[in-house]
Amino acid sequence: MTRKKLDAGIMTSLVLLVAILVFFTIRTKGNMISVFNLTTIMDQALIVIIAGLGSIFVVSLGGADLSVGTTLGISTVVGAALADATGNEVVLFPVAITVALTIGFSNGFLVAKLKVPSFMVTLAHLIGMRGVMLYVQSVSSGFYRAQSLLLTLKNDAFKIPILIILIIVMHFILSHTKFGTYCKAIGENESVALNVGVPVAKVKIIAFMLSSFMASVAGFFMMAKVGGTNNTMGINLEIDVLMGIFLGGVLVTGGYSASVVKLLIGSFTISVIKNGMVLAKWSAIEITEVTQGVLLILILFVMILLKQRSGATARPDTLPKDPTV
């Protein structure tokens, strides 16, 4: 046998997505799957997917990057402020990416070298950098209006191909390169990776930088969508991104369970729920969030059940891992 069977995590999350889609389609008498509405769902999922394409590497390490929302915010705000000051829109891109990479390096360095758990480090960045962002926003001329180059990202003719290219590239990096495999191996067991000769610290730093980089790219799309910057940009994005990854069937421990396909399924699931709630006129945010929470628990439950049935966890011989990612 040389072909691999379909991953149980993917199947579960796919069934969930289809079930929710069918439910809302019936509930909204078909409005759910109108071309216009599907485009709306796609639009909503876009930013979560792009940020998730970077974040998935950190998750595969067995960590979590809680700073993606803030990174999106501060990188675009600083980039916009300098673009505004120089009067040159193109300045936005290199500046924003540089700011993002710096945050990513800082995240990765602290996690890899000082062995601080990633959720602590990125939580600190989430809070601290949000403050810096508000300060920059207050001293610069304020609201930045997106200009011609940025607005082309709103155009489907550019937006969709860019998205597809990003998805393909990140899929190949995660699933078909040494770097991606090393990320997953670290998530499975860091000691094993180290003992084999994986440059663990370097891999971790790159993964965090990739996560921040994609957050800033997501930021450009968000600027195009909302027409500029504001001081709430990217708030709570990390929650949607992590929800998307975990709803898709990636294990919290990361490792070989991480895949871009799962991220896509999970991110669409979130968008479908949010959108369906609105169409079904249950628009109160409380309901949406409660539903998401319940579904996350449900899918975790199903995955654990499946794993037990397959006997994969029958042997209790996994040693407790050091929670240093």
């Binding site: 046998m1 040494k178 094993v192």
Partner: protein, 503 residues
Amino acid sequence: MTAAREPVLHIEKLCKSFGPTKANTDIDFELDRGEIRGLVGENGSGKSTLLSQIAGVIASDRGTMYLNGEIYAPQSPLDAYARKIGIVVQELGVIGTLSAGVNVFIGRTDAFTRAGIVDKKKMNAEIREIARKWGLADIPLNKPAKSLNVESRKQIELLRALAIDPQILILDEITQALSYDNRKRLHDLILTFKEMGRSVLIISHDLEEIAEITDTLTVLRDGRVVDTVRSDKVTMNDLKRMMVGREIEGDYYRTDAAPSREDRIVLSVRDLTVRKEVRSMSFDLHAGEILGFCGLSDSGIHMLGKALYGLEEDARGAVLLPEKGVRIKSSKMALENNIAYVPKERDGEGLMINAEIRDNFCLPSLDGMKGKFGLLSAKKLNDAANKAKDAFAVRCRDIFQEVGGLSGGNKQKINLGRWIAKDLSVLILDCPTRGVDVGVKSYIYRLMRDLKAKGLGIILISDELLEIIGMADRVFVVKYGEIAQELVRGTGFSEEAIIEVML
């Protein structure tokens, strides 16, 4: 069965199946008071299942157990504890983040609790008392268990079993985790048990050892009892034949009595020092040479293995590859320069237990798996894993099965096999036959002989002296991190000579 010689444990027709797999069929078994019984058999012969049934970890399908003549049907390990059956399981069962002391009394800290707070001082004093009573070495009780080495963690489990003052002590594969001095302590402990009229049930793959310390041996094969024999009457060859069901062909250890090696030096170590664990070690490893390292638990031989592979950031001195003019500073460099390292703790440090066989096989050789555009090719990964699986005769469903479900011997085949596919120059082995049966053991020794013939330099770190004596060209006996003596094959190469230096 008279009342006077009533066995402490009597088992009738015990059966256990896992789905279609019969782990145990109609096991009949009697254990007398003051008897030390060994259980031997290949991986998957049903030894651990039987012990798990006695321990209440696994429920039996059919059959009856009697303890002191009364029906004994444990529903959980707590029942076993209550009936004073103490067990040390094969897979490490400590909670890493809790202190060693708490681990010993885990679930039973009530006796030391006042107003909801555990009196650790009192508890640790009790543990030291137990250790003293049974002649065990002290371990740091306040450190979190995960910061301790495998050996100390095993001792935690042993103390946990002893803390209930057991009438039957069950030890599953414990000696392999212990170094020479602690093994000796365990042997003394077992004898004390016998003198007290209590019984011990022990599993070990080290046949010489188990035959030495037990009174009787029960051989299991394919879930059935083959025979129960007197330990002092049985020969090793008979045992092996009963276990495997046929003669083990070929040689176990090397048969040549003289050392052999090529002239070229593949690894050169100069003044290697790691904190206080390895002190200023210098030696050369030649191509086609097997260099053995042995020593007591505090000798630092396992740390040496890590340091040679560039895993210790604190290491000073030099690990050189003279032919390439390279100095190893990290595990990444070691990997790139065709060195391989097989760590002692297979499950925690060698294999990704929850990952597939394929991914475990391919991890060190990803550079050779590239296809179009420099991307990893699924076909090449699958082919390489299938090839290695067949070459090493790994018993598994397919290469996508999770490693965690395999037996110890099959896991070790993967742990070793993933390196052999590479064009190696140096192989560092730390206790390569720990927890594997005779069949796999003989396989690993044959592999080592083949690799030696191919011109690899092999570092063999081991707690089993017979293995070192059987395989090495030269042996370094290490004491407190320093090389105390070098012995050469064919000249005074005996267990006694090594132990004398070690102690």
